[in-house]
């Protein structure tokens, strides 16, 4: 696979996300940050990479795509979990503060992997991985056991997260994000806290699993190096700072 091919936009599948003029502004200590998405379309089954230095707004975008952060403005924010024509109007859900409805959508369609943590210390590895199934009342079948085997966690299933290494914890987090077979997995720098060797290994394990399960994936990373061989579409973005230095703006398109 050549890099040229990878970078080329692919809109083969039906769109799962359709965003137009979505803006998030944040303010802290007089320094403003704005993320602008004039146009973004992500197809079902696509593998997207969001690469950029720290602070450029990767988490901001991913959190909006995971419905855990409210956009400041959104002309259009459609979500088509099954790839069908009829989409769900996420902007509308936020406007009417339907937090529980958004929560239901997350539990059914979205898996989320955080940079670190996000595991519940009082649950075992098995229970943590099963959490996304537990909340929906999905049956206790072999899914978690099989996933654990693929992630190399079989020996740790009955341990609490506190007994695991950082890398193992990230693998548990990946397992939890996949266990309920979501339409899309969103991973925010899932390997940033690991050493380069482990990071590369876990990342390719993750992408391999996603491909095997045929799940759409969006992964953020500050280093293209780790993932350039994995066949992901890289989302284009530009970051610039206003002349007075008071506002940083990132524009994402794709």
């Amino acid at each position: 696979m050549s890099e040229l091919q990878v970078a080329a936009p692919r809109h083969d599948g039906a769109p799962i996300y359709q965003l137009r003029d979505v803006i998030k502004t944040r303010q802290s200590d007089g320094i403003g940050f704005q993320l602008r998405v004039p146009q973004l379309q992500i197809g079902l089954g696509e593998k997207i990479a969001l690469i950029g230095e720290s602070g450029c707004g990767k988490s901001t975008l991913l959190d909006m795509l995971a419905f855990i952060l409210e956009p400041s403005q959104a002309a259009r924010f459609q979500f088509h979990p099954g790839g069908g024509r009829e989409g769900l109007n996420i902007a509308d859900h936020w406007r009417h503060a339907r937090r529980n409805r958004l929560g239901d959508l997350r539990s059914q369609h979205i898996g989320y992997v955080m940079q670190t943590g996000g595991l519940l210390p009082y649950l075992s590895v098995r229970q943590n991985m099963n959490l996304s199934r537990f909340v929906q009342g999905l049956p206790d079948d072999d899914t978690v056991t099989d996933l654990a085997k693929e992630l190399g966690l079989s020996r740790h299933l009955d341990l609490k997260p506190a007994a695991l290494s950082t890398g193992e914890r990230q693998r548990v987090a990946i397992g939890r994000a996949l266990a309920h077979k979501p339409s899309i997995v969103i991973a925010d720098e899932p390997t940033a806290s690991l050493d380069p060797f482990a990071a590369e290994k876990i990342m390719s394990l993750f992408i391999g699993l996603v491909e095997e399960l045929n799940i759409t994936v969006i992964v953020a990373s500050h280093a293209w190096r780790h993932i350039k061989r994995l066949g992901l579409r890289r989302l284009a973005h530009q970051t610039r700072r206003t002349s007075d230095g008071k506002l940083t703006e990132t524009v994402v398109t794709g």
């Binding site: 959190d63 952060l69 937090r99 529980n100 955080m114 595991l119 009082y122 959490l131």
Partner: protein
């Protein structure tokens, strides 16, 4: 269904953090336990004090001034009123005396006769009561002068002038009991009303067929006076007013009653002031600690939010844990109280009458303590949980 899942997760977390949960339980009991001891003492001591004042028969007595004409129907009607604790009619005081003679010593003593019956406030409830023509209760000084005690028999006699002749009748009397000195200071005997009526009839020259005493035919009886005790001191004023409306002048211990009532009121308001201040402080400290606990768990609650738990579920998570802390803490506090109360009551046992306690709580006090604990715990945890559910999961998850 979801609530059930939340209960399972909250229980796991509570057990996982066993030590922390233990501290919260301990912290709750450390405030509530001593407060229950304090209230137990207040309730026990103040309660006993007020009870003894309220129940003092001297303060409950209503005495008619001068003499009237009260028939049996009137007595029955007044006795039936709920404010009336005890009522017996008196016969004419001129006729209410008798000569007692202890045959073994040969000493003769004239005693005043006090009409009595079951439930006489002047006589301790555990003593046998005067009854019929035979059983009487002697006052302490009379018993001492005669040198008799409970169970002895004495000879009672009265004299009259009848158809120009002096005559005397005798009656064997059993000393059912000797009254405590406080009941009646002079030489006297508590006797049943029928005996007093018989003695009055005899003196007046009327026949008493039941005792085989000769005389003229009887007429409808009226009583010149009565012995009346209100049920409690709070009923005295009302009864007095009622009698005055009927034209019966009565005397009561109004000044003393006023004093006792004021004291009762003052002690009660001090008691309640302390109770309210203490309970509000307790509720606030419990709420603050549970609130802080939810803040500590914000990130974990955001994880639950992330995987799809709803606002209500997020609220229930800390509420379930607050429920555990509340119930277990209250249980521990009650145990602390029971231990302390037992120790205090033992310590003071020698200074107390039988059945009296220094520290005392009623079942409803435990219930109030539990209710208050749970209400403030659930309110604080629910509110804190609601706040945690309101913040965007994105912010909650990225908290340091």
């Amino acid at each position: 269904m979801r609530l059930f899942k939340v209960i399972r997760l909250a229980t796991r977390d509570y057990r996982h953090e066993g030590q922390m949960s233990g501290f919260y339980i301990l912290a709750l009991a450390a405030v509530l336990g001593p407060m229950m001891v304090l209230f137990g003492l207040k309730f026990g001591i103040v309660g006993a004090m007020v009870d003894s004042l309220v129940e003092d028969p001297r303060n409950r007595e209503i005495r008619p001034v001068g003499s009237g004409r009260y028939d049996a129907a009137w007595v029955e009607a007044v006795r039936a009123r709920p404010e009336v604790g005890f009522l017996v009619p008196r016969t004419r005081s001129i006729a209410a005396s008798m000569d007692l003679n202890d045959s073994s010593v040969g000493r003769i003593l004239r005693v005043e006769l006090v009409p009595s019956a079951k439930g006489d406030p002047l006589l301790p409830a555990r003593l046998p009561t005067p009854a019929g023509y035979q059983r009487i209760v002697l006052s302490a000084s009379a018993a001492k002068r005669l040198g008799v005690q409970a169970g002895d028999t004495v000879d009672g006699s009265v004299a009259r002038r009848f158809r120009g002749e002096r005559e005397r009748v005798h009656l064997p009397l059993t000393i059912a009991a000797v009254a405590p000195a406080a009941a009646f200071g002079r030489e006297g005997a508590f006797v049943a009303v029928p005996l007093l009526e018989a003695l009055e009839d005899y003196r007046d020259g009327r026949a008493v067929p039941e005792l085989g005493w000769d005389g003229s035919a009887g007429e409808p009886r009226t009583y010149p006076s009565f012995r009346l005790y209100a049920r409690s001191i709070h009923d005295v004023a009302g009864l007095k007013l009622g009698f005055e409306k009927q034209g019966i002048e009565v005397r009561t211990q109004a000044a003393d009653i006023e004093l006792v009532q004021r004291m009762d009121r003052n002690l009660s308001s001090i008691y309640w002031a302390i109770a309210v201040i203490g309970l509000v402080g307790f509720a606030l400290s419990l709420s603050a600690s549970l609130w802080a606990n939810v803040d500590r768990k914000r990130k974990e609650l955001s994880v639950l939010r992330l995987v799809g738990f709803r606002t209500g579920d997020i609220m229930w998570f800390p509420m379930v844990q607050a429920l555990y802390t509340g119930v277990l803490g209250w249980g521990l506090a009650s145990t602390i109280y029971l231990g302390a109360a037992e120790a205090i009551n033992q310590l003071m046992a020698t200074q107390l009458a039988a059945g009296q306690t220094v520290a005392r709580l009623l079942p409803e006090h435990y219930a109030v303590a539990l209710g208050l604990t749970l209400v403030s715990a659930l309110a604080a945890a629910g509110l804190a949980g609601w706040r945690a559910a309101r913040i965007a999961p994105s912010d909650g998850l990225r908290e340091l």
